[in-house]
């Protein structure tokens, strides 16, 4: 280690050390897949269906192939026609998408082929020369229409309901009868888009003589991408190398292999091994990546006078679009998250995931929990009001507690939810403000949420691995399969490795997400990386440390059990005396007498039980995270405009590995939640095409209008978590819409049940309220 050791970075866990990739990013040096340019690189374009639903009669590619500059054209005929999907382990029948469709197209944009040419202009010209004959079929865009028996049949199944997920515990009918107050509510949440700043992009190259493929990808889950490529291309895992480049945001949209990834590989092969790059433009991004499910939530629940929830019943209808993608688990999460938060004995909610001839719904940050959070947390406020109870008191009465097993067998160990609620309400001034600012049209609302850290969604295991390598000069490498998509996992994992190894964070470099050289990891989803990969990283660093200590023990005739490395010193733990510094110990390992390489390895699989998707039972996560969020709003009753004055987010994150990153996740989640509450609404036209699929018409939160946010970090030090940490990348988004809705109700007494909250909805609701008041007076 020739560079000076930075003493500020000793014991890095718990410190806001700078991002490991920060300097590269702010200088423009960091390479995203988008930035890759190779010699002789071809540009690929997808051949897409112009129809929402049609049979493919024939595809004539001859004119396109004859166009000068075109190097390859592929259709389903060039493939093995193997279907893929994302819930193979639990829902094998939902494996329903072909890398290139051969018989039918199911939405405008559906992929039936691809071209590769010397430049983009030629590739686009070639697309015009593809002659496809279709037999157009009737189509259906609306999810409730699609559920009818008379609706056009989108897949070869009994109907368009791809998944029914019934969750039923206790005796809800009896419990509702015994309840003191029962109410029914209907909520609508729209489709939305991840809208990562970097669109989907990949570069693929096939090696002619070794039949090996390399894919440079913008992926949240490079190992899952490899698995799907291997399956659909019929290749061995070790003949496909997926290299995750810097990823310009994912938010669930980059969890799966898309037909573009598959096509780039196949086009490269057909073009004799020339590299092929496919970049989505923003329009394609909205049309043919993945989107958030629009969900209809019907709830009927009852409470007792003392505030105890008697039963929750209902239906969840999720608009799935043309294929299943991660839909089944999104649907499950849209129901199951409630068990983490509320102690419930009686619940009967049935979920339906329905095909429509629209862009494919998949994972988006929060996995159904955002839609559910809005519905349930609004509904809970209304139940509390029905019995005249303060919404905070109501929640405190019903929330889950530490060290409990829920009715569906979630094993909750640490649980800071009560503290989250108390700290959030105290900091926000709940008792002083709630219900007391109506004259100013101001109000305050609360929402709470729970989160998993991992969920075994697509495999029977959810392991992560790590390799921690100490070089001869004492510099350190962490190899991890985890995919940093901007959340800062490379930084957090490096902090964890250095903490365990007992060295400064300035020693480490991180190599992540390369399927040929890093250990396996299922990817960045379900807020799992800090928790699961963090644990794997501790084990790898500990292994490396033990290798060093073994040499020191031997050299000095000491008992290895009494040795440790802390703050750059090898110490005797009996009296904390320093034996030698880290550099000396490493030098000893690599010395003439020992010559021992220091390569630590770790593997971790959380202690969970898979969910039984017939019942909803199972302990899905190794630990659970919690939070309480409060919004304070002011409504302009003339214009319908709503201003968020401030938001507070108290979050049980176990332990903040990097407090600044944790705050960044909270603030970013809230911004996304605020966007979904007020402006984000991906609409579809009569043919199921995005009606506002660009940044001019799909509005995202911008800097003007960003409200102040106060993060309150609650550290419950989870015994399962790495240094006590829990995952936390998603939960802050879940209660945002409801906290705002509840605040609006407090301010002006209107209840908005359909997102997003546009000014016209506010004005309409105010009109209705006035009419109702007049009627009541009369």
């Amino acid at each position: 280690m020739k560079n000076q050791i930075n003493k500020e970075y000793l014991d890095p866990v718990g410190k806001s050390v700078p991002r490991i990739d920060g300097k590269g990013i702010v200088t423009g040096q960091t390479k995203y897949a988008f930035d890759l340019n190779f010699a002789n690189m071809l540009i690929g374009k997808m051949i897409r269906s112009p129809h929402p639903h049609a049979k493919i009669i024939s595809i004539d590619t001859s004119k396109a192939e004859a166009l000068p500059g075109v190097r390859a054209v592929i259709t389903a005929k060039d493939t093995d026609e193997i279907k893929f999907g994302s819930n193979e382990f639990f829902f094998p029948h939902t494996i329903d998408q072909m890398a290139l469709e051969s018989e039918k197209v199911r939405y405008v944009g559906d992929e039936i082929g691809a071209v590769a040419a010397v430049d983009e202009e030629t590739a686009l010209e070639a697309l015009k020369l593809i002659d496809v004959k279709y037999e157009v079929l009737p189509h259906v865009v609306d999810v409730q229409e699609a559920m009818k028996p008379t609706a056009p049949q989108i897949h070869d199944s009994l109907n368009n309901i791809a998944v029914i997920f019934p969750v039923n515990f206790g005796n809800s009918d009896r419990a509702l009868k015994e309840a003191d107050y029962v109410r029914e509510d209907l909520f609508f949440t729209p489709a939305a888009h991840q809208a990562a700043m970097e669109p989907h992009v990949c570069v693929a190259q096939w090696e002619k003589h070794t039949n090996k493929i390399t894919l440079w990808a913008s992926s949240q889950a490079p190992f899952k991408c490899r698995e799907t490529l291997a399956k659909t291309l019929k290749m061995d895992l070790n003949n496909i190398r997926v290299i995750k480049m810097a990823v310009g945001g994912g938010f669930g949209g980059k969890l799966e292999m898309l037909p573009m990834d598959f096509s780039a590989c196949l086009l490269s092969k057909k073009a004799g091994g020339l590299p092929v790059k496919i970049c989505y433009n923003r329009e394609e991004e909205f049309l043919a990546s993945r989107r958030k499910h629009g969900i209809i939530y019907k709830l009927k629940s009852g409470v007792k006078k003392d505030g105890t929830i008697a039963a929750i019943t209902g239906e969840v209808i999720a608009d799935g679009g043309a294929y299943c993608s991660y839909g089944p688990t999104v649907l499950a999460a849209a129901i199951m998250r409630i068990f983490m938060v509320y102690k419930i004995q009686h619940l009967r909610v049935t979920g339906y995931r329905v095909y429509t001839n629209t862009p494919i719904s998949g994972a988006m940050r929060g996995f159904g929990g955002v839609q559910a959070g809005f519905a349930i947390e609004s509904h809970m406020d209304m139940l509390a009001e029905g019995i005249g109870m303060d919404p905070v008191e109501f929640r405190l009465k019903n929330i889950t507690t530490p060290n409990m097993t829920t009715i569906n067998k979630l094993i909750i160990s640490t649980n800071g939810l009560k503290e989250c609620i108390e700290r959030a309400t105290e900091t926000a001034g709940w008792s002083k403000k709630r219900g007391k600012q109506k004259h100013l049209h101001r109000g305050m609302g609360i929402g709470i949420a729970g989160d998993v850290m991992g969920s075994k969604m697509y495999k029977s295991h959810e392991s992560a691995g790590s390799i921690v390598k100490v070089e001869e000069d004492g510099s350190v490498y962490l190899f991890t399969g985890a995919a940093d998509t901007g959340q800062g996992s490379d930084t957090a994992l490096s902090q964890i490795a250095c903490q365990e190894l007992g060295v400064s964070y300035s020693r480490i470099k991180c190599k992540a997400g390369d399927t040929e050289i890093t250990p396996f990891d299922t990817g960045s989803f379900a807020s799992r990386v800090t928790f699961i990969t963090g644990n794997a990283t501790i084990l790898g660093a500990r292994d490396a440390k033990m290798q060093i200590l073994e040499v020191v023990a031997k050299e000095h005739g000491l008992n290895i059990d009494n040795l440790d490395i802390k703050t750059e010193q090898v110490i005797n733990t009996e009296d904390d005396s320093a034996i030698m510094n880290f550099d000396e110990a490493v030098e000893l390992s690599y010395s003439f007498n020992y010559g021992k390489q220091i390569i630590g390895r770790g593997s971790y699989n959380p202690k969970t039980t898979p969910i039984d998707f017939r019942t909803g039972e199972g302990n899905v996560s190794g630990s659970y995270g919690f939070e309480a969020q409060i919004a304070e709003v002011e409504v302009n009753t003339d214009t319908g405009d709503i201003t968020i004055l401030k938001m507070w987010d108290a979050h049980d994150i176990g332990k903040a590995i990097n407090p600044q990153s944790v705050e960044g996740q909270i603030e970013g989640s809230l911004a996304m939640g605020i966007g979904y509450t007020f402006m984000e609404n991906l609409r579809f036209d009569k043919k199921g095409r995005p009606a506002n699929g660009n940044f001019a018409n799909y509005r995202l939160p911008r800097s003007v209008g960003t409200p102040p946010i106060e993060s309150i970090l609650i550290e419950t030090n989870d015994p399962q978590g790495p240094f006590g940490a829990k995952g936390m990348g998603e939960a802050s988004l879940l209660p945002t819409s409801a906290a705002i809705a509840n605040a609006i109700y407090d301010a002006i007494g209107i209840r908005l049940k359909s997102l997003p909250f546009t000014p016209d909805k506010v004005i309409e609701a105010l009109k209705k309220k006035k009419q109702q008041e007049k009627k009541d007076e009369a």
Binding site: V26, G28, D35, M197, E198, G249, G486, E667, R702
Partner: protein, 157 residues
């Protein structure tokens, strides 16, 4: 032949005429720090500075900026020494995925070069054309304020 002055360096280019500055930077010169995210003048990821003003390179024809002083993200740091804005964006944790960052930093620079002590409202206005999907803007505002402070200190020294 078109001669462009980028980061104090002159580049001679054979252009067809319709190329945007963004295309030229990324595809012809390999200056990939400037990003394409919407290609439709809505997101600000392609922001560069031309003659002191922040400009969207996706809607600027390269031939129209011949003779102008163009600065991209690659032209900010002095060797290993980061520009105060770059440093503050790292130090405050404003950076997440980073894809919007080059554009965001260039918009911040155009603001701070004129006024090192902007109000919070002026910062918000100056950055309103730059979309960020990760960070929720608050740490970005903090970064701009901190950089302004540092730039003021540098001036007074």
């Amino acid at each position: 032949m078109t001669i462009l002055t980028i980061n104090n360096k002159e580049y001679s280019l054979e252009l067809k005429g319709h190329e945007t500055l963004l295309e030229v930077l990324r595809d012809h010169l390999g200056l990939t720090g400037t990003k394409t995210a919407c290609d439709d003048s809505e997101c600000g990821a392609c922001t560069v500075i031309i003659n002191g003003k922040s400009v969207l390179s996706c809607i600027t024809l390269a031939r129209d900026v011949e003779g102008d002083k163009i600065t991209t993200i690659e032209g900010l740091a002095d060797g290993e020494e980061l520009h105060p804005i770059q440093k503050s964006f790292v130090d405050t944790g404003a950076v997440q995925c980073g894809f919007c960052m080059p554009g965001m930093i260039m918009s911040a620079k155009a603001l701070l070069d004129k006024n090192t002590d902007p109000s919070q409202e002026e910062i918000k206005q100056a950055l309103d054309g730059n979309l960020c999907r990760c960070a929720g803007y608050l740490k970005i505002f903090e970064a701009v304020e901190q950089a302004g402070k540092e730039m003021r200190n540098e001036k007074s020294n």
